[in-house]
Symmetry: C2
Subunit: 218 residues, 2 copies
């Protein structure tokens, strides 16, 4: 760690010596504001599970695939066990009116204790999707397990799912198909425990080499 | 596609029939507000490349690993070629004062045309990191390629890198190591072309089963 012009600099040896909790906070927050979703699953015994994730990423649009990271040795393990057992999971956008309940799902409940019951969030079901959705969520996505990859360096699992169901309010769609996440009150995630609301700066036209992009925000 | 109570519902068959651009907008934006970073790389010939990515995700904190998705058949290909050639890349937070320049890097410049020169963003170098950083960026991260996985269903590549360098302002760090992305003016990404600013809702204490979390935002 070096102090230069009020800059903090960390290199590999600094990370190795860093307090564990400090390092966890730093590394989880520094890559930026992340998508926040509640992941709903159901065990083979029917027990419902709900867990908050901020590691969702885009893999492809046609067909629609989304990725997610699970740590099999952590509070994520029930989610991953259920996905493997049923092949089904849901992603549910976290709204500004219930982000505290979403946070609460990260408590280490025992297997069998439903985070839906513990937090008061509503489990709802849709035809063709085994896993439960969050009734309060403005954007509901149902996925089927497509494939997964074990990250060799630390044993985490990259899960890729195919989106088979999407439900959202008509009023949240721009004409071109983009979702107005600001209007949806979608909460962004900072690190392990931070929650932010979003305001539009702009939407910009497709970038071309010799032309400045223009605003396409209605 | 079905209209029920002003809800839009899409299933697999709807996605398959959907206009390509509409589907791309929908699928890229629906998972939530994403971390936005400029990825800096350098070819074996020394040519600098800069590209905007919103697929960065957390893989581990000790040692620190971050993941990223690249599509080898797209504008990402120069980034991926350079990462494979040198093993080095940088992630640079996009600030509210230069998100338009970050957007412009997504134009399809020819190989050899530097996005640094085209956009006016400053390439800066740090000891021990081959790839260039973005001088304007408040949070600079240097990474080394750790491993990669080919996603079988659509050929995209999940890249995992080890963070070997981090530089940020002292004033952006909370006492516990978390980064104040709001103070950093870090821009969030919505889909392909949307940019949002963030405001704190809260930071919450570690969740426990029988206790309500409390605010830990200073």
């Amino acid at each position: 760690m070096a102090l230069e012009n009020n800059l903090r600099i960390y290199r590999s040896e600094d990370f190795a010596q860093m307090d564990k909790r400090y390092r966890t906070q730093l590394v989880n927050s520094m890559p930026g504001i992340k998508a926040l979703n509640l992941v709903g699953t159901r065990g083979e015994d029917g027990a419902e599970n709900l867990a908050v994730f901020n590691s969702i990423f885009h893999v492809g649009a046609n067909p629609p695939y989304l990725g997610m990271v699970v740590r099999p040795d952590s509070v994520d393990r029930h989610t991953w066990q259920n996905i493997q057992a049923t092949g089904s999971y849901t992603l549910n956008a976290v709204g500004a009116d219930f982000y505290r309940k979403a946070h609460q799902t990260s408590a280490r409940y025992e297997k069998g204790e439903s985070e839906f019951l513990e937090t008061g969030l509503l489990a709802v079901y849709r035809q063709g999707v085994v896993a439960p959705f969050v009734g309060e969520s403005a954007i509901k996505m149902g996925l089927e397990l497509q494939e997964f990859h074990r990250v060799e360096c630390n044993g985490t699992i990259v899960v890729v799912g195919k989106v088979v169901y999407v439900e959202l309010g008509e009023d949240l769609l721009f004409e071109d198909g983009a979702v107005d996440l600001v209007k949806a009150d979608a909460v962004g995630s900072v690190g392990l425990d931070g929650y932010v609301s979003a305001a539009w700066l702009d939407r910009l036209s497709y970038a071309k080499p010799d032309k400045a992009a223009t605003s396409i925000l209605p």
